[in-house]
Symmetry: C2
Subunit: 162 residues, 2 copies
DNA sequence: ATAAGTGCAAAACATTTGCACTTTG
DNA sequence: CAAAGTGCAAATGTTTTGCACTTAT
């Protein structure tokens, strides 16, 4: 049945969880799987994904699992400028995000691209950039640039989160 | 009584409201006044300020007034990376924000300081920066740099919003 | 008078928490 | 079995909304 399937499919995932001191339950494997796409997802995205295979899973469980994964350094909580929290698999190297204001698409930006920022900020304000926080940069993605010359008001496409 | 006082003190403010097509009520003048400090405040900050002079003012009124002021271009809704919304008086020139992760202090950053950013973002991702969105940059303010060498965990000072 | 603005109570949200029950090791 | 994890229901905190009442013009 579903329980066993989920557990078998996620041998590597189970190991990841164990290493983090978490018991590999079906629910947690599904959360990890939803995160595994490499994209940026909300708790609700994860819940929806998990419910497909495990309908009884509860939001609390998703939130608690995410907390545990973040604490274990497996997941990362990311502010993308909206009112909800986003989560992604933790990467080893720091990166930032460009977020399309039209469709919500998100891309990574190497830390190096912001190299010039720290000195400029320090010079103007004396503030020092934190070495581990990510910066969310509102922007327009290439697809939306060509698709919608200037209709900011109406037809928000909202492609899925990439 | 309070009503008249508030109204007299805010002749210029009343004019601002009228120009925006808003009737200058005591409540709105107080919202404007709370915003007037030039800082970044939450709806609740404004509510607290307004209640000092007008105890019966309601959160809904603050929110509705802020909506109106934002729509009129008088106020600006600003994402400072927290879970609540911040508001400030709209400036004519675009600027960004550095936000101290230790105490919450906020400073402005001239758009020019980010001049190098747009080309770097375009080169790496193809995304184009939006001309009117602000970027919130998490950082550590000078005061917190010297005050707290490395106690990220405990003594969060949380000075008032500047 | 008429439209705009207000207060209140209730709803909408995303997220958190207390607690009893179930699962894992 | 004990500890960890789960579901459920209720609470949280911020923001929004419906509606009847008040105020500004």
């Amino acid at each position: 049945m579903q329980l066993r399937d989920a557990r078998n499919a996620g041998d590597a995932a189970a190991a990841i969880l164990r290493r983090a001191g978490c018991r590999p339950t079906a629910q947690r494997l599904l959360v990890l799987q939803a995160l595994g796409g490499g994209g940026h997802v909300t708790a609700d995205d994860i819940l929806v994904h998990a419910r497909e295979r495990y309908p009884s899973i509860n939001p609390s469980t998703v939130y608690r699992t995410l907390d545990a994964l973040v604490a274990a350094g497996i997941a990362r909580r990311t502010d993308l400028g909206s009112d909800r929290l986003y989560f992604e698999v933790a990467r080893t190297h720091r990166h930032h995000h460009v977020v399309c204001q039209e469709c919500g698409a998100v891309e990574h930006l190497h830390d190096a691209a912001l190299a010039a920022l720290a000195p400029a900020v320090a010079a103007e304000t004396g503030y020092r950039l934190t070495p581990d926080q990510e910066i969310a940069i509102p922007a327009i993605c290439p697809a939306c640039q060509s698709a919608a010359p200037a209709d900011a008001e109406k037809g928000h496409h909202h492609h899925a989160h990439p």
